[in-house]
């Protein structure tokens, strides 16, 4: 039962902390978010040198074959310092899904992911999908190794900055396929924008764009990868919530009103206590999800975590602003930026409501399976 980072994982986490301490002062972060690209190639390369992009790549392809906990350590530090480099799409989603590809594609791309020289993005969410990867309007007409893809994908993380897009599309009424498309391919329109939290994303539309088939039926593998993505987002939210707790407690201890530090008022003490409870519940469920992933079945644990992150992130974010008062509503403090990150995380990869309904569906399926077993 692992509920905290091992010594080795902590050392790695410390190296990330050092990276953010060197490069991610709040002022530097704001300037970077305002820049055209929205993140720094130099930072990207430094993250590559730290080994971040090889964590999830098998050793056979020059990676470290590391545990999910290591990626979560990265995510936590990214959330805490509001890192803008898009780690999740390449290091986790891309590296996971490319393992499903034919050997030639794996050999072509996995070592480049590990070294940080290729960037990937996963285009899977749609306006009507609301978190459900099987609920697709994007269609693929498969012919041999290739397919023509038509549809629209929203909130594609770093979608305009990737060398290659991994795209999900329906290959029949019941199957979801995965395809690899070069960003510059004809029939693709990409509109790049900044998420409310500052990270870059894109709306991508495909109008008969030609893609390479990775796999014609990936539903469960895709869900597994998304589960791991959900856990990464949970860890990122955890880092953001911890940062908000630290500055809110500090502020309440130093801000004086009515002649006392506001932390002396019981109403606020109880609020802070409730915020701590929300954080600790989340931390426990984060570790439960990391364990479930290691055990090979994270469907339930990932949904539980994301549902918790939605609620706790909103509560902690909102109350951090409330307790900071007016100053929390400005861009002068990092509080608003962390709040925005938590707001974006709730909406990405299915919000709390979606994951609650997913839990209900999982429970129902389990119950049906139990009843179907002959006595």
């Amino acid at each position: 039962m692992q509920y905290q980072y091992s010594e080795e994982q902590s050392l790695f986490k410390d190296s990330l902390r050092k990276f953010t301490e060197d490069h991610y002062s709040y002022e530097a972060r704001c300037a970077l978010a305002e820049s055209e690209q929205g993140f720094s190639n130099e930072h990207w390369n430094q993250l590559a040198e730290l080994g971040v992009f090889g964590l999830n790549v098998p050793e056979a392809y020059d990676g470290f074959d590391g545990e999910l906990a290591l990626l979560c350590a990265v995510a936590e530090e990214c959330g805490r310092a509001l890192v803008l480099e898009p780690v999740l799409p390449t290091a986790l989603l891309g590296a996971d899904l490319l393992r499903l590809a034919k050997p030639e594609l794996r050999e072509r791309w996995l070592p480049e992911i590990a070294s940080g020289s290729a960037r990937f993005a996963l285009a899977w969410e749609e306006r009507a999908s609301r978190g459900n990867p099987r609920h697709l309007h994007t269609r693929a007409k498969v012919s041999g190794d290739q397919a023509l893809i038509t549809g629209e994908k929203l909130a594609v993380l770093s979608g305009a900055d990737a060398d290659q897009l991994l795209v999900t599309a329906a290959t029949s009424e019941t199957t979801v396929g995965l395809f690899l498309i070069v960003l510059e391919a004809p029939g693709i329109t990409v509109s790049r924008y900044a998420l409310v939290s500052g990270e870059r994303a894109a709306t991508v539309t495909f109008d008969g764009a030609l893609g390479r088939l990775v796999s014609a039926d990936v539903a469960q593998e895709l869900q597994n990868t998304l589960n791991r993505g959900l856990i990464f987002l949970g860890a990122q939210a955890m880092g953001a919530m911890d940062a908000l707790m630290a500055s809110t407690m500090e502020y309440c201890k130093t801000r004086k009103q009515f002649g006392l530090p506001i932390a002396a008022f019981q109403a606020l003490q109880h609020r802070l206590a409730d915020m701590v409870i929300a954080c600790e519940k989340t931390r426990s469920l984060l570790w439960a999800a990391i364990q479930a992933d290691a055990a090979g079945d994270s469907d339930k644990a990932a949904a539980v975590l994301k549902a918790q992150v939605g609620e706790a992130g909103r509560y902690v974010g909102q109350q951090a602003i409330q307790l900071h008062g007016g100053i929390g509503m400005t861009e002068e403090l990092h509080v608003g930026a962390h709040f925005k990150l938590l707001t974006a995380i709730d909406a990405l990869f299915g919000n709390r409501d979606y994951h609650l309904s997913r839990l209900s569906a999982l429970a129902l399926a389990q119950e049906s399976a139990r009843l179907a077993v002959p006595a």
């Binding site: 609301r130 309007h137 629209e152 909130a155 409330q322």
Partner: protein
């Protein structure tokens, strides 16, 4: 018989209001209405709309008739606001009509009333509020901005903050310290001043949606005539409390919320656009979301009838006293719930924060269907509703004291 007659009158009143609203606002004013991301509408168009209402005689329905009010009853005032919001015109900026106006009417000299009230109504003057200071937020009475007596003038030194639209204002109503004797509340004076006086510096603060809505205002040896005082020296706290109770309780949240909820429901009933779903599924197919909309409607109705019940018990020009705290908590928190539900409804379409597109007259291409444009800035800005006009924590303490009789 009586009630039937009242109903008919209200219907024809509603028709009259609708007829006026059909043609009165310009396209720019309506665009500003669609791009209002908080309680504060875009300045220029909000003032243009105020001028149109002024010319119609409808700018300050709640004021006493002798100062420019319409004499409408609570129901009529509600209908008017509701129809304004249904039409999508921007809300009037509250500073003139809801804040400084009632202070001058309640405590000002005849000369001040004669000179200032018409210009407040017409929008010739725009007033900002100088209450909070860096060290005096929830504990407003601890304010330090000093006004020293010098013959017929006060000399002002200090600063104010969270002054909404201070960079647009030509006048300020401020609370200043004229004495440090006794309880902090006792040495405060309510003062009116011109924003172009030498020694005043205004610095806008960038908010979470990327817009400068609030300002810091710095005073260095600013000379203000004592004749600009409202009420007696050192008695400004009672004026301020009176105004705050207007600010908290007098602004009706429900007439805004009701049409907003109608729009949200309609949006949820429409097929989700794009990606080959035309005529297909809609969000109301999700029973959880339908449930949440209904729950919010319960809150909105509770708010509406509480507002009406409190306001119906008041005469023109009266303020709601401690009930103001209840209305402020209820109103701000219901607005926040609305903004959260709107965020859920917009889903991924809420995620781009399209600051450029929010300027009136902007021709930037939208990244999402237009109904989602406001979702995120509105959600972010509405966090302030439980902070401004006295934080909800302070309001809960006031309310508890009032009901406990302590």
């Amino acid at each position: 018989m009586m009630s039937e007659q009242t109903e008919i009158n209200l219907d024809s009143f509603r028709t009259e209001v609708r007829r006026f609203l059909e043609t009165a606002p310009t396209p720019e004013i309506l665009e500003a209405g669609r791009k209002t991301t908080s309680v504060f509408a875009p300045f220029e168009q909000a003032m243009a709309w105020q001028r149109i209402l002024y010319d119609k005689g409808w700018v300050a329905p709640a004021w006493p008739v002798e100062y420019g009010g319409t004499g409408w009853n609570v129901e009529q005032r509600y209908i008017f606001l509701e129809e304004c919001n249904r039409r999508g015109v921007p809300p009037l900026l509250p500073q003139n009509i809801q804040m400084v106006g009632p202070a001058v009417i309640g405590f000002g000299s005849e000369e001040q009333k004669r000179e200032l009230l018409p210009r407040m109504l017409s929008g010739e003057d725009f007033w900002c509020q100088g209450y909070s200071e860096p060290g005096a937020g929830s504990d407003l009475a601890s304010l330090k901005c000093r006004a020293e007596s010098d013959g017929d003038d006060y000399i002002l030194n200090g600063s104010k903050t969270w002054t909404t639209y201070g960079h647009h204002a030509n006048k300020m109503f401020a609370l200043v310290r004229t004495s440090s004797e006794g309880k902090p509340q006792q040495g405060i004076t309510f003062l009116l001043l011109d924003m172009d006086l030498p020694g005043i510096e205004v610095r806008p603060i960038i908010g979470l949606d990327g817009f400068p809505e609030q300002c810091e205002v710095f005073f260095t040896d600013v000379r203000v005539p004592k004749a600009n005082r409202v009420g007696d020296e050192n008695r400004g706290w009672s004026v301020a409390k009176y105004v705050l109770e207007f600010e908290r309780g007098g602004s009706a949240f429900a007439p805004w919320l009701k049409p907003a909820l109608e729009r949200l429901r309609a949006q949820c009933a429409a097929p989700l656009a794009g990606g080959g779903n035309e005529g297909g599924e809609c969000l109301l197919d999700n029973p959880h979301l339908a449930h949440k909309l209904s729950a919010l409607e319960v809150d909105a109705l509770a708010l509406e009838h509480t507002e009406k019940r409190v306001n119906a018990s008041l005469k023109h020009g009266e303020n709601p006293g401690p009930m103001a705290s209840l209305l402020k908590i209820l109103g701000s928190e219901t607005l926040q719930k609305y903004s959260e539900l709107q965020l859920e409804v917009s889903g991924l379409d809420a995620l781009p924060l399209q600051t450029d597109a929010l300027h009136v007259g902007s021709e930037v291409d939208l990244l999402t269907p237009e109904q989602h444009l406001l979702t995120m800035p509105y959600y972010l800005n509405t966090r302030a509703a439980s902070i401004y006009a006295g934080s909800n924590e302070v309001q809960r303490s006031l309310l508890a004291k009032a009901v406990l009789g302590m």
